[in-house]
């Protein structure tokens, strides 16, 4: 199920919301949210509900065992065991064929057979949820919950189940504990406000750009030099408005159920440097990688060389997390190298005029998205080649795309991020919220679109 579908907006959400208000008991609300999360997920393919349930039960049980363990060694054993189970599931469903295909290409004799595996939607997200939970319990940052439905609610919360943000248990534990308390009026306003802004970002901006960029890239062999740049720029904005729109909608839905989902974007295209970009883009993922991977590898505690190696490893794995494709690996490596260079040149770069620094960062990010968007390495190389004038074609560039890109560029450089909007909370503003929702629906209705991050 997707947020911008009739089944979600007119059936699922109203029913779940109404039941949520009818059921006042904490446990009943946990069960309702868990069941609704599984229905939301199972609407795509019910069979994979069992996979999510298995992963949840393993981490829930492991959390309790870690909590009860008397010594660090046992805690560590439970933690590592659980992480291994989670990573094995993720590895098998997401990466098995990738490695098998890669081995077939370089060493066919050692390659395992290719299997017809369907990637379970959202597996990357809920695997990171469960891993962060057991690690946090083992580190004593959070107490393991003994309430199975509270935990299942955390993992299967439909608002962030299939495309994030990656929420840690400790970030929403307090809200889950007081879920039986009625949400405040201002939370309703925030909920509607975030949801409306997210829906507008998605259906009005991202989908409009997609309708122009997708055909251009489907015929990338024919891109002109300007066309290649416009396609890259268009995708840069499409991805941002699509994913940040999804995150805003997730936050809005969270508020409606009294759960505060943390910020996932903070004006990333205003970043000064690649390091700053990653502090602003998909914050829940980059902070997850920092806290659970980079720091575990030693972070910056083992000298500059090791720090740089760690940065590159983290970004490589971050790239691979997005998808089993060499384009993602290269995209991750590209950002890893940029991070290293950015760190090394910081004293010099910070003396640049801020606007120049910001826009050069933006330029580097655009180039990175070429790998992120390309379906294969040859496509990425062809596209990049055309951006520098190699092998260009004569393809048309829709004028609307140029206008949209200019408007988006101005918007991302001047307008506040959703989190910086001071949503009015009085009912006299209700017509404005309603108009926003209504207009977004006019754009959404009849269009057949899904969110880009669903594939991850």
């Amino acid at each position: 199920m997707v947020f911008n579908s009739d089944i979600f907006l007119f059936a699922f959400l109203p029913v779940v919301f109404a039941l949520f208000w009818l059921l006042r008991e904490k446990q009943a609300r946990y069960i309702l949210l868990t069941v609704s999360g599984y229905i939301f997920y199972g609407y795509w393919d019910w069979r994979f509900c069992f996979l999510m349930l298995f992963s949840s039960l393993v981490s829930f049980g492991s959390g309790l065992m870690i909590q009860r363990a008397q010594d660090q060694k046992t805690k560590r054993a439970w933690m590592i065991g659980t992480i291994c189970v989670d990573l094995a599931l993720l590895g098998f469903f997401k990466y098995y064929n990738f490695f098998a295909e890669s081995l077939h290409a370089v060493a066919p004799a050692f390659a395992p057979p290719l299997l017809n595996i369907i990637l379970p939607i959202g597996i990357s997200f809920y695997t990171f949820h469960t891993i962060s939970y057991v690690v946090d319990v083992a580190a004593g940052r959070v107490r393991a919950t003994s309430n199975i439905f509270e935990y299942l609610t955390y993992v299967s919360l439909f608002s962030q189940l299939v495309a994030g943000p990656i929420v840690r248990f400790r970030q929403i534990e307090a809200d889950l504990e007081r879920i039986d308390k009625p949400p405040q009026t201002d939370q309703m306003a925030l909920g509607v406000g975030f949801f409306a802004v997210g829906l507008i970002k998605k259906v009005v901006i991202a989908d409009t750009i997609a309708r122009m960029v997708d055909p251009m890239l489907a015929n990338h062999e024919n891109l002109s030099m300007l066309g290649a740049w416009m396609a890259a720029l268009g995708y840069t904005f499409q991805l941002y408005f699509d994913f940040s729109g999804y995150s805003d909608m997730a936050v809005g839905l969270g508020y409606l159920f009294g759960i505060r989902i943390p910020q996932n974007f903070n004006a990333p295209y205003k970043a000064l440097g690649i390091g700053d970009f990653w502090r602003r883009w998909h914050i829940s993922l980059s902070s997850w990688l920092r806290d659970y991977l980079y720091i575990s590898l030693g972070g910056n505690r083992k000298g500059p060389t090791r720090t740089n190696i760690n940065l590159i490893i983290v970004m490589l794995l971050g790239g691979l997390w997005h998808g089993a494709n060499w384009t993602f690996v290269i995209w991750g490596a590209y950002h890893g190298v940029l991070l290293v260079i950015d760190r090394a040149l910081q004293p010099w770069l910070t003396r640049w005029p801020p606007l120049l620094y910001r826009w050069s960062t933006f330029l580097l990010v655009i180039v990175g998205w070429v790998f992120f968007r390309s379906e294969s390495l040859p496509m990425a190389l062809d596209w990049l080649g055309k951006m520098v004038g190699v092998g260009t074609g004569t393809g048309d560039i829709p004028q609307t795309l140029m206008v949209m890109c200019v408007l988006c560029f101005v918007a991302v450089n001047t307008l506040p991020e959703t989190w910086d909007i001071r949503f009015p909370k009085t009912v006299r503003w209700a017509p404005v919220y309603a108009l926003g929702l209504f207009l977004a629906y006019l754009f959404m209705n009849g269009a057949n679109s899904t969110f880009l991050y669903y594939q991850f």
């Binding site: 309703m188 306003a189 509607v192 489907a218 909370k425 017509p431 309603a434 006019l442 754009f443 009849g446």
Partner: protein
């Protein structure tokens, strides 16, 4: 909660307000208002009305089915050659479900159909199985497939809900502004398409341009090519469900004592070339030919392959755009279909009803 209720109340108020406006203006002619001009033509609805009136005069015995590509086939020519009273019930973007639903609907009106001439588009068997908007919105036709789709009442309700729901789009709103503005400017545009009482199509604007020598075929062809790329870009195979509708139609007509003839409808050579280079059109055409040949063997229906104009004696000039043949092309196709003999070559854009004498047609009728 109070805040949320007020917001939802406003959303409903906006929906009622806009819905009322759209219903009143009715820019696509779906609600029968007729107070404003319309931007699109719902051939299904128009032809259903025309058919009822035509059937009232005398029973309809022959149907021409297919998409807009077969709209130029003149029922008068078919009637003249067969002695049966024909109606052209071809509709825009027809898919296999249209053929079956229209046949059943025509029969339900009391028409004793003896002969069905079906111009089959390869994309009428598109694997997306998605219902075309005007079919989806048509409860009368949808009910004709209720045996395949479930309860007739539910299908009808769904069609009506879908019709009202689809009003709430930016495109519909844009059409509304367009027709209101046209009315405000008192514009009297020449209609793009017009049907005669027997379902035959005229393109008034194009026909005037042809007569004045200002018609630009090259421009028209290149303008519509992207839409065909779009259609075939997503078509990977023939839909078993749609093939089922087609076969059911054949068997039902035969069970009713009627006769079916099917031909693969033509595309402009430039369209065929583009589709062959950039889509799976060639393979799909091959699959359609093979499936039709098999159907012919099993049921005895006559099947012909007119996928390219030379197969019925036409050429790349007998067109209005990348898929729609002009009067000359339609005459050639009709005569070939009816296996007529010798005579003068047709003059371009001569009105079919004024055609005098048979056409010169050489070669075989390209049976499969």
């Amino acid at each position: 909660m109070h805040f949320l209720k007020v917001v939802l109340g406003w959303v409903i108020a906006f929906a009622v307000l806009l819905g009322g406006l759209l219903w009143y203006v009715d820019p696509r002619g779906q609600f029968g208002g007729g107070r404003f001009p319309t931007v699109t033509l719902d051939a299904r609805r128009q032809k259903m009305d025309l058919f009822r009136a035509f059937e009232e005069q005398a029973p309809v015995q022959g149907l021409i089915l297919g998409s807009s590509r077969s709209m130029k086939l003149d029922p008068a020519v078919f009637s003249e050659r067969t002695g049966l009273r024909f109606f052209n019930f071809t509709v825009d973007a027809a898919k296999a479900e249209d053929y079956l639903a229209i046949y059943r609907w025509a029969k339900a009106q009391g028409a004793p159909i003896r002969r069905v001439m079906l111009g089959l588009d390869v994309e009428a068997l598109h694997n997306d199985n998605a219902l075309f908007t005007n079919f989806r919105h048509n409860p009368d036709l949808r009910r004709m497939l209720s045996a395949e789709q479930g309860g007739a009442a539910l299908v009808g309700v769904e069609a009506n809900v879908s019709r009202f729901k689809d009003m709430f789009t930016v495109e519909y709103l844009r059409d509304t502004f367009k027709v209101v503005a046209a009315r405000a400017r008192s514009e009297q545009k020449v209609p793009f398409m017009q049907f005669t009482a027997n379902g035959y199509l005229h393109y008034p604007g194009r026909e005037r341009q042809r007569a004045a020598g200002t018609f630009d075929l090259t421009q028209e062809v290149s303008a519509c090519l992207p839409s065909y790329l779009n259609i075939y870009g997503g078509m990977q195979s023939l839909s078993p469900q749609r093939w089922g509708y087609l076969e059911t139609l054949v068997r039902e007509v035969q069970a009713d004592g009627g006769q079916v003839e099917i031909w693969i409808s033509p595309l402009h050579p430039a369209t065929t070339e583009l589709l062959a280079n950039q889509t799976r059109y060639t393979q799909l055409l091959g699959q359609t030919r093979a499936a039709l040949a098999s159907l012919g063997r099993r049921t005895g229906v006559t099947v012909r392959d007119y996928a390219s104009p030379e197969r019925f004696g036409s050429n790349a000039q007998d067109w209005y755009d990348c898929a729609h043949i002009d009067n000359r092309g339609a005459e050639l196709l009709s005569r070939r279909l009816l296996s007529e003999g010798k005579g003068d070559a047709p003059r371009s854009d001569r009105s079919p009803s004024s055609a005098s004498g048979p056409l010169t047609v050489k070669g075989n009728p390209n049976g499969l």
